[in-house]
């Protein structure tokens, strides 16, 4: 009974990730995709907050979205798991519900 939260917007542009992190419970998961993948990259002003969230939540990032934006595994914060669309589907089935932070 844990929820998969999805965030598709850049944390620099919109407040979706911030709200998601504020309102998601320990044990839930956060999938970063589309422009949301920037939150998964190293060295940004958001990296510390995302790293802190990993203390009690799983964080995933969509590899095809990273690639489109010129990013690779090297750019991703340690501990964030990279998934493709098949992995996205698995997450949706593994968690009890999906909540989109639009």
């Amino acid at each position: 009974m844990a929820i998969l939260h999805t965030v598709n917007k850049s944390p620099f542009e919109k407040n979706a990730l911030e709200s998601c992190l504020n309102l998601s419970k320990a044990g839930s998961a956060v999938l970063l995709f589309e422009d949301g993948v920037y939150a998964a990259t190293k060295g940004t002003v958001w990296a510390a907050k995302v790293t802190a969230a990993m203390s009690d939540k799983k964080v995933y990032v969509m590899t095809p979205d990273l690639a489109a934006r010129g990013m690779k595994a090297d750019n991703v914060i340690d501990g964030i798991e990279m998934v493709d669309y098949a992995g996205f589907v698995d997450l949706v089935t593994e968690y009890s519900a999906t909540q989109a932070w639009l």
Partner: protein, 140 residues
């Protein structure tokens, strides 16, 4: 849908009204959903709390010329939609209190039709708990 399964449905509202249509069209879904006898909750977080602001006024002549759909929220009680969760922290960041919102109520048939508030002011912590129990979440 008699005899069917009852699921926990949540409608997540995080956007202000008028600037975009999400608030209005979200409300249209909620009204239809009322006929399906599910366990319905509405969450108003972030700019979503502005959807419930009192005294909304739009006119074609001196106003923005869009339809003022805020009276529809007042009908939710009649449709047995009585769990409107408003996040306290979102109100505070915006300098608002419950007094700035419409007074939304319903008549409780289990309590001699007493009039009760539909808006439930909850902390971030409490709202996170409510969200975590949901089975189907509609975002707009």
């Amino acid at each position: 849908m008699e005899g069917g399964e009852v699921k926990k449905f949540m409608y997540l509202n995080r956007k202000a009204p008028y600037g975009t249509i999400y608030a209005l069209e979200s409300l249209e879904v909620v009204l239809v959903a009322a006929a399906f006898d599910q366990d319905v909750s509405l969450a108003f977080v972030d700019d979503g709390v502005y959807q419930l602001a009192a005294n909304q006024e739009t006119t074609p002549t001196t106003g923005i010329g869009m339809k003022n759909f805020s009276p529809t929220y007042k009908a939710l009680g009649d449709y047995d939609i009585t769990k409107l969760y408003v996040e306290k922290e979102s109100l505070e960041e915006r300098g608002l209190t419950l007094d700035n919102l419409m007074a939304l109520t319903y008549e409780d048939e289990d309590d001699d039709w007493a009039e009760k508030p539909s808006i439930h002011l909850v902390s971030r912590e409490e709202l996170a708990g409510v969200m975590d129990e949901q089975e189907v979440i509609f975002s707009f």
